[in-house]
Symmetry: C3
Subunit: 363 residues, 3 copies
């Protein structure tokens, strides 16, 4: 159960090499490659000739060629040729709308006619030279909504990530959640606390003392279909916390693009954008490595939680105030899916009105 008329991260550009890339997204097996103009193209991963996956083929001068019998596939999903054969009568396979932007390839698994680039989030940090980004990709066998829950309630850091970013003061600081249109924001502020190991490292990385009390914040932004961007940071205590001047804090944006593969598995694109020492590649690598380790701690929990939910489908998950972020995000998703279904039933495209509230960096 996921919105289909929405932009999802399909892959990172460097995953598409001279070999096409096969990846299932929202239940649709897709093949990604670069056409003659260098633009990323996404098609159904199914050769209309004999059903071979086109992703086992190759790209010749920007044309995708089936690796079984050499059918040449056009960018729109119409076969364009095959040595010695007539294939123009072949039915087309599906073409999916794609945008390459912000260092990601985005795909629209639903109705291509509704795929509007203007509906893609604006991500300021991804276009500014004052920001650096590092990240990675995990495959996890869980419903994408379990990962949204996970990220909209950072209470779990105290338990799952006890040795890196967790601290008991997270539990003690009540989060506040608000919904605005289709977005949801959960905020949590902790004052005058010790910095946990990851943030000590970040303070040092920004040339700041790591052994003094800090004010810490976490502001989680959900935007449909399944993106969670989290402003996180610490400032030396008493300088304004989130609003402290740049030379008193270390802050960043945790980037989470959660792409359903199937109903119970995801491609999880995680990363961190920061606006201090953006040209320090070594720092980027070290943050990336640290984040990768921390985020890998969620995998077993999410997969085992999923197994438990499949075993007891009749049990309702209980909701505390810390769950408000996930609960409200799921409401947005439910509404969008209902709209799509209603539109499909009416035979007309859904008047999708996803309002996107971009995350602005706190500078």
């Amino acid at each position: 159960m996921f919105p289909r008329n929405a932009w999802y991260v399909a892959c990172m550009p460097d995953e598409i090499t001279d070999k096409p890339l096969g990846r299932q997204i929202c239940g649709e097996p897709m093949v990604f490659y670069r056409n003659a103009e260098g633009a990323v193209t996404a098609l159904e991963d199914f050769c209309p000739h004999r059903g071979a996956p086109l992703s086992l083929g190759f790209v010749r001068d920007g044309t995708l060629v089936c690796g079984y019998h050499g059918l040449e596939m056009g960018c729109q999903g119409k076969a364009t040729g095959m040595p010695g054969q007539r294939v123009n009568g072949f039915p087309a396979i599906r073409n999916f709308s794609v945008i390459e932007r912000y260092g990601f390839v985005w795909v629209w698994p639903g109705d291509a006619a509704q795929a509007d680039p203007a509906k893609l989030h604006h991500l300021e940090w991804a276009e500014s030279s004052e920001w650096a980004y590092g990240g990675g990709l995990y495959h996890i066998r869980c419903d994408y909504r379990l990962m949204i829950d996970n990220l909209m309630d950072l209470t779990h850091e105290t338990y799952v990530h006890a040795n890196s970013i967790g601290q008991k003061e997270i539990d003690e600081a009540a989060p506040k959640t608000v919904a605005e249109g289709d977005t949801v924001r959960t905020s949590r502020f902790m004052e005058n606390v010790g910095a946990p190991p990851f943030w000590k490292m970040a303070l040092r990385g920004n040339g700041l003392a790591d052994d003094v009390p800090v004010d810490r914040w976490q502001i989680c932004h959900f935007t449909p279909p399944s993106h969670v961007l989290i402003e996180v940071g610490v400032a030396h205590a008493g300088h304004g916390g989130y609003h402290a001047p740049a030379d008193k804090k270390a802050s960043s944006i945790v980037v989470d693009f959660i792409t359903p593969e199937t109903e119970t598995s995801i491609w999880y694109f995680w990363g961190m954008a920061r606006n201090f020492r953006p040209n320090d590649a070594e720092l980027t690598a070290s943050i990336r490595e640290g984040q990768g380790k921390i985020f890998s701690e969620d995998l077993e929990m999410l997969e085992r939680q999923q197994e438990n939910l499949l075993r007891w489908p009749e049990r309702n998950l209980l909701k505390l105030n810390i769950d408000a972020g996930g609960v409200m995000s799921r409401r947005v998703i439910d509404r969008l899916v209902a709209q799509e279904r209603a539109a499909a039933d009416a035979g007309t495209p859904a008047a999708q009105v996803t309002r996107v509230i971009p995350v602005r960096a706190a500078t």
Copy 2:
């Protein structure tokens, strides 16, 4: 299909460390840990908050804490706390009755109100300093009744364990099976035969000549729900066999506690209790190693037999007199399960009247 109102071995005590232990028993995912008094506690492995397995959590001062968001779970299955949250309204999860005794943790997967410690077998060998015990645990993908069949008909030793405890005289000695209440006993006696390798080792271990003819015996005791204890031994021929004096024989009790995990998989706790040289730890280790190797020979046979039965569900297994032990044991099981079902249908607890005939060591 297994009785639920019965004591099953859940684990060995040293499997529960400072980490809780997750294990599925009779189709119920359970978590085991020690509470503040050091008593083993068993609960459903499902956090009522978000469905995470509690076995991924930790134990703090005898309290089980969920590893996802810190819910604290009481020994009876009621949530007792969570930092900054009210959880006392949460519905309880199931609590399972547990006894730690005889070097095992026993669990009662059914109705806790009926869990009577007096219904646990008395195992004399497990409490006496004159006996030593060594054993292990195997996970096998087969119906637990196939393992009962296996152990109640030791004819298979000649074939599956040809190089250790098998010998052709087993085939030639007709077994005798009797049922008494809910227990079944199958006996087989062989006179004036050579000792197979495992028993030569045991004779030497007991300081006896291993190259003389022996009388050998196997007395298999089934008690519900799925325990098979087997008195086995050899005595120098002509001294009374089973009744020979201690200095003329090597004997022991093969211990088999078979705990269903699912309908087609088991936790198989195997071991051997002996009453000679009980303080010789090296001998215990060497017997344990030998038995572990021998018993591992059954795994492939049982799993492949299970696959065959699933493939041909309409075929009836045929019954020879050697199968009487398994056949009668299954009748006991069928009767107990029928009683439980009748009681469930009537809305009243089954008047379970399991008569336990303890295995007395033959001294």
Copy 3:
């Protein structure tokens, strides 16, 4: 969906050692062993006593003995004995007709009463000292008909086997397909082309120059139920191609016996028969190694194609003229299966009239 009243390759003789061989063929688990006369025997892999696979047993003086409790099984599927037990009342298990010939063991999974050795292909190359043969076995998770399609349309060589036997001229040469009774033949001829690497090796193996233009041919013969024999070769250009004298060409027969294991998996017996330097064992080994590598390139394509077809069962595969060989072969199969079904419905054995057109070596 496969004909059952037909000879399939079950195994190579050396796969049956002193241990029986278990193998599923056309959905039937079978056990193969040599009886007291040394003749290969095939039975259901199911002991009528307790359902154990007989293939886990052993052979004693030509009698198959169950490895669980020692039941002795007669060649016709009737239990003949068991130490201390009466088993002659046991129902028989199925016996399958077997022929050992041409270096293979052939089995008839259907009605044994119809199993006629005369219906087995005649394979001249397998009986002549002027021919050498080398081959192997792959297990592939695909419908056997996908492998027939693969072999009846060698266009795929250009793509799947680009570095060994593929060349663009294959695409350019239109194949010609004809059906004769129950057989299908697809031929393709290329004149005055370069020899691809595998054929250069074969030319050198036959003492011929490898750097001159050649005429190349591929003549694929389908015979039911699922055998594809392919005459392949190259001759120095201008000497008559397929009909060129032996000292101007290197030619061979690609041997493909495709045995369904289940509806979506196969045992693929592949090999090559050649009539030059038949006694050169080193050459046989080197051709076998090369062919094994080349044929392994098809595995991923076939298995992934199968996955795609299972995902989109409603999509029809499209048919070009290059597919005529597979299309016509499937028609033969459909007709045979329909005949078997009609005969089964009528309660009478199908008047199976499989006409076999043997492949005669082109000498």
